[in-house]
């Protein structure tokens, strides 16, 4: 594996398998009385979050702490950044303090790459703009692997605002690396230009695609997209692209429903679907996030320092 984890495209099929296998073993740490292993004792991991995200930040924090690493949290609000300090200066400060890894979430696509230029620490992309979210893709794959024996030929639909979704981009990359067949479903206004070059099929018709899928991954639609004109109304969006009870019944019996969260109940996903115990693995995704991030931190920090 590379020194950093910036993009899902950096991971080979072997890398992904390794992360998932390691995560499966580390998942058991959560079941113990002492939920800790001493592996990264003395290492410092910094959560550098320029965007609000309680869920991802806590997931990384718990993952690091379970490996006995020290964790510092840097959120943009009320920090030097809000006083105008640039990303570069923040990076230099952290570097001077000697952190071993920086987990960065930033609103600008590409920010983790710039950060990696300025620091010696290991950089993990926790979401950059509308570009990528590789750890989310890994935990999604882990969750899928809990329910299905393999990825080869597995039919996965990703439904919703693909245009603005970093989760979609990372998942398409990781799933196609593992040999899955991905279909993107969205209104035409929410599909990126030249999306046909992504290696996934594209459809505007959710009802036509749904019955053949093994996995249906719903993306969150942000309410401001309606105001910006990408579709006429939330009501119409829900009617055409929302996963409701009727569509759930149209899915194959073995098919599962995923969602990276947070959900807009009633828009892209009906409450009855989100709460469906047999089909929805959404709660599993959250739990799996910690195991997968533990595995990543171990694999990225557990080796000798890579001298550039």
């Amino acid at each position: 594996m590379d020194k950093h984890l910036l993009s899902a495209a950096d991971l080979t099929a072997n890398d992904i398998t390794r992360v998932l296998d390691t995560a499966a073993h580390l998942a058991k740490v959560t079941d113990r009385a002492i939920k800790k292993v001493p592996t990264l004792r003395g290492r410092t991991v910094c959560n550098l979050f320029f965007e609000d995200s309680t869920r991802t930040r806590i997931s990384f924090e718990l993952a690091a702490k379970r490996l006995s690493a020290d964790v510092i949290n840097f959120s943009a609000k009320g920090s030097s950044v809000s006083k105008g300090e640039s990303l570069k200066d923040t990076a230099i400060t952290l570097e001077a303090m000697g952190v071993d890894a920086i987990v960065i979430r930033h609103g600008a696509s590409g920010a983790p790459w710039r950060l990696a230029e300025w620091v010696e620490a290991v950089v993990v992309n926790a979401g950059d703009g509308t570009h990528e979210h590789p750890t989310q893709a890994l935990l999604d794959l882990y969750t899928i692997r809990q329910r299905f024996p393999g990825f080869d030929g597995l039919k996965v639909a990703i439904v919703g605002d693909v245009l603005h979704s970093r989760v979609a981009r990372s998942n398409v990359l990781a799933l196609t690396t593992m040999g899955a067949e991905v279909t993107l479903v969205a209104p035409p206004t929410l599909l990126p230009a030249r999306v046909e070059t992504w290696g996934a099929a594209v459809s505007y018709d959710l009802d036509a695609v749904l019955p053949k899928q093994d996995v249906v991954m719903m993306l969150r639609v942000q309410l401001e997209r309606q105001r910006a004109g990408f579709f006429p109304s939330l009501r119409e969006y829900a009617r055409l692209y929302g996963l409701d009870g009727r569509r759930l019944d149209a899915m194959a019996d073995h098919a599962i429903v995923m969602h990276p969260g947070p959900m807009n109940r009633g828009v892209e996903i009906a409450a009855e679907v989100a709460d469906s115990l047999e089909r929805s693995v959404i709660a599993d995704q959250v739990a799996n996030g910690i195991s997968v991030r533990m595995a990543l931190l171990y694999l990225l920090l557990g080796g000798p320092e890579v001298v550039p």
Partner: protein, 294 residues
């Protein structure tokens, strides 16, 4: 029920037919076409001196219902259309209330079926109230019983390029056409006729060809960008035709079908025939003759 249309002038551009012949209709379907057909128990209609042709389609009518039933209704409009040889009409959405939702278009389509004289295919508005600021629920209209597959704000040009872009893209999900009226309103304030020597002499406010061509150019570029289906209403200048021709030459889909004042129009999938040209009456805006092209 058999019907023999005897001795009329048979005109059908699709098969390049223009000849005198008989048409035998059996149970609502054309059974045989040729000279000197045997009546064989059919009701005979003498078509000597008449034109026999496939039904005409008017892609742009105003049936004024709901809201202005004092001016026209779906029934009166259907009767006029049928009398003129039209078997299908597409009423524009500038009714009151505006046809910008499934409820109104379903009502218009249902009324058309109830009257039963011609097929009525309602055109839905692109934006709410035709105000040009928010997309109407195109999906709801497309999936409704009216099965709308053409949307237009009719005489109100869509000013924001971003909105037209979204409309063209979004409509792809339903394979629908967006019909835009190409006019930059800031250049045509108070215009009464084409801007040129004549308007200058007469002292009438003019409407420059550029006001149309600018928007045609913009719309064509957006159609290429989005791969959407664009229809240009009321194309009337030579420059606009050049732009369309150039777009076709670049070979980008989709096909574009300018509407001319004379209502010459072919919509893919719809059997159509140009209406007879040279009408003296004008419905709607003032004539914007530039260099007309046949």
């Amino acid at each position: 029920m058999k019907l023999l249309l005897k001795g009329g002038r048979l005109v059908d551009p699709a098969s390049r037919t223009d000849t005198t012949a008989d048409v035998l209709v059996d149970d609502g379907r054309v059974a045989e076409v040729g000279p000197g057909l045997d009546a064989g128990g059919a009701e005979v209609v003498n078509c000597d001196g008449l034109v026999v042709c496939p039904g005409l389609v008017d892609l742009h009518v105003h049936l004024r219902e709901p809201g202005r039933e004092d001016a026209e209704t779906i029934e009166t409009g259907s009767r006029a259309a049928a009398l003129g040889g039209y078997t299908a009409v597409c009423p524009m959405p500038n009714t009151d209330p505006v046809a910008d939702n499934a409820g109104v278009v379903e009502m218009v389509a249902a009324r058309g079926r109830e009257v039963g004289l011609v097929d009525v295919f309602p055109v839905g508005a692109v934006t709410l109230g035709q105000r040009g600021s928010e997309l109407a629920e195109l999906g709801a209209m497309a999936r409704s019983a009216a099965a709308v597959d053409c949307f237009s704000d009719d005489g109100r040009p869509i000013r924001e390029a971003r909105l037209l872009r979204f409309a063209l893209e979004y409509a792809r999900a339903f394979d629908a056409v967006i019909a835009d009226h190409a006019e930059d309103a800031s250049l045509t304030d108070g215009a009464q006729m084409h801007e040129g020597e004549v308007s200058a002499m007469l002292g009438l406010a003019g409407w420059p060809a550029a006001a149309e061509e600018m928007v045609v150019a913009r719309d064509l570029l957006l159609a290429e960008l989005t791969g959407g289906r664009l229809h240009l209403c009321h194309v009337s200048t030579g420059g606009a035709v050049e732009l369309v021709r150039a777009a076709h030459f670049r070979g980008r889909p989709p096909p574009l079908h300018p509407d001319r004042r004379g209502r010459q129009l072919l919509r893919p999938g719809v059997q159509g025939q140009p209406a007879p040209a040279g009408e003296g009456r004008h419905r709607g805006g003032p004539p914007r003759a530039g260099r007309r092209h046949p």
